[in-house]
Symmetry: C2
Amino acid sequence: MKFPFSILAALLLSACSGATLRGTGDLGIVIERAGGSVAVIDSSARAILGRVEGLGDLSHASAVYSRDGRYAYVFGRDGGLSKVDLLRRRIARRIIQAGNSIGGAISQDGRLVAAQNYEPGGVKVFDAETLELLADIPATYGDGSRRSKVVGLADVPGNKFAYALFDAGEIWVADLSKPREPKVTKFLSIGSQPYDGLVTPDGRHYLAGLFGEDGIALVDLWKPEQGARKILASYGKGMEKLPVFKMPHLRGWAVAGGRVYLPAIGKHEVLVVDSATWQEVGRIPVKGQPVFVMARPDGRQIWVNFAFPDYSHIQVIDTLEQKVVQTFSPGKAVLHMEFTPRGENVWISARDDNRVLVYDTASFAKLAELPAQNPSGIFFTSRAARIGF
Amino acid sequence: MKFPFSILAALLLSACSGATLRGTGDLGIVIERAGGSVAVIDSSARAILGRVEGLGDLSHASAVYSRDGRYAYVFGRDGGLSKVDLLRRRIARRIIQAGNSIGGAISQDGRLVAAQNYEPGGVKVFDAETLELLADIPATYGDGSRRSKVVGLADVPGNKFAYALFDAGEIWVADLSKPREPKVTKFLSIGSQPYDGLVTPDGRHYLAGLFGEDGIALVDLWKPEQGARKILASYGKGMEKLPVFKMPHLRGWAVAGGRVYLPAIGKHEVLVVDSATWQEVGRIPVKGQPVFVMARPDGRQIWVNFAFPDYSHIQVIDTLEQKVVQTFSPGKAVLHMEFTPRGENVWISARDDNRVLVYDTASFAKLAELPAQNPSGIFFTSRAARIGF
């Protein structure tokens, strides 16, 4: 069998050009909600490298990463779980694992991907390589006839996942050391209607915000025998008359310098809490109702975006001065922010402008403006190396 | 021009097999001192993928990573700076930049690699892409006729590098925002003979251990106008009669849960310091003179190795209980440890056994034993995403 050289050359090229040999440490994705696609981004070049389509309903979608940084696991609202290959820029695997889902997490060892589901309520755990179902943990409560919506799923050390049951008012910690034999520890009566949760960056404390009452439920995972307790009893709608336009994201809480910065619900304030005592130690006035309150990786700055009608603005708090030092308007509907791993830049989604913006966090200069279709969440591969994402 | 199919197939293979398409988030290197080589490792497969040779004198060598995780910059003792391509497993570039060198750092934005040199004393800054020299900052002091050895070089936010001048007793912070026009801020008379330094994980505090006197020099980089101050005045050899077998590595200090854990010099103790007040709050007795005192990424455990004659042992401190909970002997001469990014495993160099060992940090079970030639430092690519490495 003989081939002319031109065909040979074309074959050689196509054999190798399916993807470029490159590191994955500076890659990420932007969720493009309207089109059911993700844009693959490069934080060194400040560029969009390409798109992967066919991911279904991506409203409220989020993503976690394989421990090698090559694959993003994208959790769609429609129960779709897609494993996206960032190097080949295509879907490696995709399953529909539930009817209505709201995010997921990846285990400490990177071998298990867990999805938290509204319908049917519970957590499903998949093999990160194959997406084979390994464990199905229904969120059954009360007399055993009902299943709760699951929220606030987070990985914690020891190949465990912590999460909250909205309808049951419980916090569960599932130990997946043996993936097909999950062991569940339940914290009952933690408060009414936990609507979101997070684990602190050290994986020690799990917190669930409560919708049905004021306050926050807290479990010290290093001292589970102490059970759950309530902190910040005045946290919530309380006496406030302002309508709540959007429940803030707890996952956007910031921990910096021994303090936790969190959005006040329905108020134009960021609350400051001492992370040793869990007592409120201050309030910082801001422009609107905060949604995400995120710390630059060094903890010197806290960046805040807002609910409607103030969602065109960003404010930056200096943690040393404990006050707002910068206010600007990057676009009409600022939905999300993500810092580069060491914090020199921040990427911002301006949904209605169909743009992703990159800013220098020291000078606040705009460094790049990239086209994206109704961008929302931005996720860098450096999340693979962090606890509680 | 025609080719038989077998040649075509071979060409196709060789065109693509120079390297495997893969993520770089779970890669790393082990320094093989005796052979002047590094072993490229995979923390998911717990395997050695291959070797890169020809790196010169690697005694006391260390490494930092490009922000994409593809390249390791290896600093040799002989002044060699090698850029190693982990995917192709070969040297991409190599220069001899000094006569006697002791490590380096990479800037926050990943564009600058800095080397700290004993001879000629100073810091040189290179383009991370090309290794072109961009800035040469001689460590000139006193009447301007002498140059000091430089130690404790660390990156800090703002594309700055902080380091100490051993002979001059000074701490310098070089701002490389404009790489060819470095601006240096000097802290004079910080103490006698700083022998190593580190920056806290948030990039805020720079500490330099003193060889010529007791105590540690501290600069709050967020408040440089306050100058340097001395902390832990009793830290040092003090009244102790034990000989010091090896100066401990400050870079191995651990910060966990608002406390700093550091090796006592010449004593069989780990010191515990409150990172808010910088006061000593405790001492934990250990088996020998500690060298590296390293926190598992979640801060629950502190792993300690020791100087001769106790260097066959490892001890693990539980930070909740503040005491040693595990003692074991992985090999004859344990030189270094490195945690996987989320802390489920630790990799340990046992130099005289020519082995690298992988342990589960929850069960302390040995998971793998890998052959390496006189292994010393172990460095994972996840360092690229961290401040102060």
